[in-house]
Amino acid sequence: MNAWGLGLVVGALLAAGAAFAWVASVLGGSHKGHEQKDALTALAEKDVERIFNDDFREELRNRARLHFEKIIGENAMFLQQDLRLTTSQLNEYMKGEITKTLQTEFSKYEQSIDDAKQLAIDSISKTQMAIEEERQALHANLEKEFEAERERLVKKFEDNMAEIVNHYVLDAVGSEIDLSDQLEFILSELESNKAVIVEDIRSGA
């Protein structure tokens, strides 16, 4: 029973008291006057006092308290349900929002990573191209240097060829060459230079 029910009960009781008082006054009529009316009023009040005594009031309070506690409990339950529902909805909402935010951030992060990756790829490609160009230039330069060095060595070898061959002959067969075997060669060489040698010896003698 709620407050409205309690109000209806109290209103019904008051209406019954008022009707009893009215009936008594009608029955007493104007014959008895005010005395009868006072007696009826006193009687009504007495009944009222009898009906609404402390026990009845206590009973009403208890009922009202129980009813109020019931209402409070129901409201608390409704509130709890609402709260749970709201919490659940809030959780869902938060999940959705967080998921959406995270997805957005992840997509941004992924985009940033892709951009950085592309930038790194571009940078690496440029670096590779630069390295390749440098390598080709270095290769060409090295080939040029090698060719120049080879030419220099060949020229040096050719310039010193007589010395080299002489050194080789000296090392190879130097100890085996007998001067007696060279006499013919030496005399032929002297014959080749005979005119100059003789001229110089005679002019100096």
């Binding site: 060829m161 007589a162 002489n166 000296l170 060459i177 010896i201």
Partner: protein, 171 residues
């Protein structure tokens, strides 16, 4: 024109002396001169002692060759003096030819070499022998004013074009 031997134009009109092939270097001349001086001292000593020398003390092979080829008698003071003068003049005026070899040459080799010089250039040519191991073969001749590289090294240098061509063909 081949120069005349020393002594040919001397007032006594005797033929010039011959320098044997065994006498090769200026050192040989100096050694012979010392030997002759020793011999002369020996004869002077004998004369002071009043002893008669009938045989010449044993001389070196070079002095014997010089004496024999010129048909002189070392017992005669005049011949000894002539030889001494001859050696002195040769030491002072004979043309000197420097010859360098890769190794120490033997005497007979040098004799053949000096024979060429004496028959072609001057009869009293003396040699000064040197060593140059880096020439491998051949010799280097240096006269008064000239330098003649007769070594294989020079021979190779002259044939450098042929050698280079052969090496390029081999590559």
């Amino acid at each position: 024109m081949v120069p005349e031997p020393i002594g040919q134009a001397t007032p006594d009109k005797r033929p010039g002396l011959v320098l044997p092939l065994q006498i090769l270097t200026a050192g040989d001349i100096s050694r012979l001169a010392r030997e002759l001086e020793s011999l002369e001292a020996f004869f002077e000593g004998a004369a002071l002692k009043g002893a008669e020398v009938k045989a010449v003390p044993e001389a070196s092979l070079q002095l014997s060759a010089l004496n024999n080829e010129n048909q002189l008698n070392l017992l005669h003071s005049e011949d000894r003096l002539r030889l001494l003068n001859f050696l002195s003049v040769v030491r002072a005026k004979a043309p000197l030819v420097h010859v360098s070899f890769a190794s120490d040459p033997k005497t007979d080799f040098l004799m053949k070499l000096v024979s060429w010089f004496r028959s072609n250039a001057h009869p009293y040519v003396l040699l000064q022998v040197g060593l140059q191991p880096n020439i491998a073969a051949g010799c280097i001749v240096r006269t008064t004013n000239k330098y003649f590289d007769l070594s294989f090294k020079q021979h190779f240098a002259k044939s450098k074009a042929k050698l280079a061509a052969a090496l390029r063909t081999a590559q």
